[in-house]
């Protein structure tokens, strides 16, 4: 099956033109999942039957000559914190093990409307809190480049599934790097849109001022096509951006000549792993030869990002996760004869894992009487400084270029100390804090202990700048072959 269509763009076009059926496309992917996912563990739940019914509807539309939709027959997996009516949404947590979504998320509804085939939900760190998917209550996800290494997180299942060719596209959510970091670790394209660009209706909240849904794909063009379906204002999410959706493939074509690209010197730290800065320099050279104006810039608030994030994120999480109390839905303790408050505490403590509890405790502390000003208010003031610095910078440059993460994928268990895990996100969190967009694409590969591993290049852009960052990514991919490498475990 060497020349079958593999990208979102190619599959949608082939299905629309009747060259392949959505059913054939689905069966290729279901076979890949049954062959490889036992080793990888990307999927929490594969829904072959409902997917087959969706594919048949697309095929019927094509046979009747009707519009089959821009994503006709494209198999797409969703992170298990995005709601699909009638299916679980465990968020990687025991406390939601038996939850069944009573409605579709807006993104789910839009994907259905575009003709996509939803084939299942992928594993993630519990409530999207983590950078390795090691904090999933239901099993590990392995990196298809090296099964001894993590896929990144929190959207690790989605990233690994796309990298291994189990699906051409999966959705994730990114609160501090949870799309871009696993995209970097798995060698694929992952877009964190502007805060508000994609409706959060039906995404289980972690930290709503920073949560954002976005796509994992093999190419920037695929991300642009999928974003055209996902983006745009939604009356059910009052924080969704009141702006037209992204422009899709049309936005990718304009040449890059004259584009101003800043490289934050704070992201090109000497502390980055070997090969990381070289990979960014190679990408910068490629952009220079495409006519971009590359210049070093300062992003002085970089070093404050993680500290700010680990006040704001836990504060919002502790409030959001208060709803999981064992009363209306989710796990309730089976211990008999408890009064109400002990029942809350027992249900939560049995259902929530270590990292979720740690962040709830931290958030409760920084919001508690006597500490609010010292932590939460101060972090909001620092957030303003980070936001304003980006805003100023984007008057003199169009995009920023740097590494997504300071190192390639790490081995399981190597960040047992929570603080060391948190620091993995130092180049990604500031985009969430400031509400801007960013994409990670594969750069030149590196090697560790004889194993080839991907490195991520991050391109950040201003509020509503998705079309621009994807255009830069698209031209880089047209001028290089970094995104074409396939991992050893892949279809």
């Amino acid at each position: 099956m060497g020349d079958r269509p593999r990208t979102v763009c190619d599959i949608a076009q082939a299905v629309q033109q009747g060259e392949v059926t959505a059913t054939e496309v689905l069966e290729w992917h279901l076979r890949a999942i049954s062959r490889l996912d036992g080793d990888l563990g990307c999927f929490q739940d594969v829904r072959a039957d409902t997917a087959r019914a969706m594919a048949e509807r697309v095929d019927a539309d094509v046979r009747r000559g009707e519009q089959a939709g821009p994503l006709a027959g494209v198999p797409i997996a969703l992170k298990d914190n995005i709601m699909v009516e009638g299916e679980p949404a465990t968020c990687g947590s025991r406390i939601l093990e038996n939850f069944v979504s009573p409605y579709d998320a807006t993104v789910t509804e839009r994907l259905r409307g575009a003709g996509a085939v939803l084939l299942g939900r992928t594993r993630c760190d519990e409530f999207a809190m983590g950078s390795s998917t090691e904090h999933c209550a239901f099993g590990v996800v392995r990196n298809p480049w090296d099964p001894q290494r993590v896929p990144g997180g929190s959207s690790g299942g989605s990233a690994a599934a796309v990298a291994a060719g189990l699906v051409p596209c999966a959705l994730g959510s990114d609160t501090g790097g949870s799309i871009r970091q696993p995209a970097a670790f798995c060698g694929i394209t992952g877009l964190k849109p502007t805060g508000g660009r994609v409706s959060r209706w039906g995404l289980v909240s972690f930290a709503p001022s920073m949560d954002q849904i976005g796509p994992f794909t093999r190419t920037a063009a695929d991300a642009a096509l999928v974003m055209q379906t996902l983006s745009g204002v939604d009356a059910r999410d009052d924080t969704s951006a009141d702006a037209p959706g992204t422009a899709g493939l049309d936005a990718l074509q304009a040449p890059l000549k004259g584009l101003r690209v800043g490289v934050p010197v704070e992201h090109m730290s000497d502390d980055n792993d070997a090969g990381v800065n070289n990979a960014v320099d190679t990408a910068a050279d490629a952009l220079r030869s495409l006519g971009c104006d590359i210049k070093p810039v300062h992003l002085e608030t970089t070093d404050l990002g993680i500290a700010c994030y680990y006040v704001l994120g836990p504060a919002e999480a502790s409030s959001n996760l208060a709803r999981f109390d064992g009363i209306r839905y989710g796990r309730r303790t089976s211990r008999p004869d408890l009064a109400l408050e002990p029942l809350y505490a027992a249900s939560r403590s049995e259902g929530l894992g270590e990292e979720a509890r740690r962040r709830i405790m931290l958030g409760t502390y920084v919001l508690s009487a006597g500490y609010y000003d010292a932590y939460y208010k101060r972090a909001l003031q620092v957030r303003r400084l980070i936001h304003d610095e980006y805003q100023r910078l984007f008057t003199s440059v169009d995009v920023l270029l740097g590494p997504t993460v300071s190192a390639p994928a790490f081995r399981f268990g190597s960040h047992a100390d929570p603080m060391s895990m948190y620091l993995c996100d130092r180049y990604t969190v500031t985009a969430n804090i400031a509400g801007i967009c960013g994409v990670s694409i594969p750069g030149p590969m590196t090697e560790r202990e004889g194993v080839r591993l991907p490195l991520g290049i991050q391109i950040q852009g201003p509020v509503l700048g998705e079309d621009t960052v994807l255009r830069v990514a698209h031209h880089l991919q047209a001028a290089s072959d970094w995104h074409l490498a396939s991992p050893p475990i892949s279809d």
């Binding site: 038996n98 939850f99 069944v100 009573p102 409605y103 508000g196 709503p208 001022s209 204002v233 009356a235 009052d238 924080t239 969704s240 951006a241 009141d242 702006a243 070093d303 404050l304 500290a307 700010c308 680990y310 006040v311 064992g326 009363i327 209306r328 839905y329 989710g330 309730r332 004869d337 009064a339 109400l340 002990p342 029942l343 809350y344 403590s349 509890r357 740690r358 405790m361 931290l362 409760t364 502390y365 010292a374 932590y375 208010k377 101060r378 909001l380 003031q381 620092v382 957030r383 400084l385 936001h387 100390d417 929570p418 603080m419 948190y422 400031a434 509400g435 801007i436 509020v463 509503l464």
Partner: protein, 105 residues
């Protein structure tokens, strides 16, 4: 708080109670150690001059708006009720709230 915050064991218990979490002694001491490590790192925020800086609660300023005050179809009641861990008929069953006795309601 220019020096890292030291949490006492009693304070960890207090936070756990506010957060409605039960912690074993071992979990409490592990979480105390973890929180102290994180707060030590977070303390770098105190070195920043934030005089006169307006807090920014959300970067969604470009789009936050009020919801239209119009009735919309409610969630499917039966499907929602189905998920309650304990029910009596069309009601969700909870322990007695008033009186404080350990009785199931």
């Amino acid at each position: 708080m220019s020096t890292p915050e030291q949490l006492g064991a009693a304070q960890v218990r207090h936070i756990a109670a506010l957060a409605r979490l039960e912690l074993s002694d071992q979990e409490a001491s592990e979480i105390q150690r973890d929180l102290e490590g994180i707060l030590e790192y977070v303390a770098k925020l105190t070195d920043v001059d934030v005089t006169g800086v307006e807090p920014l609660a959300s970067p969604h300023g470009h789009c936050s708006r009020l919801h239209q005050d119009q009735p919309e179809p409610p969630l499917p009641g039966a499907a929602v009720l189905q998920m309650a861990p304990a029910r009596e008929g069309d009601y969700i069953s909870v322990p007695k709230v008033l009186g404080g006795g350990p009785e199931d309601g």
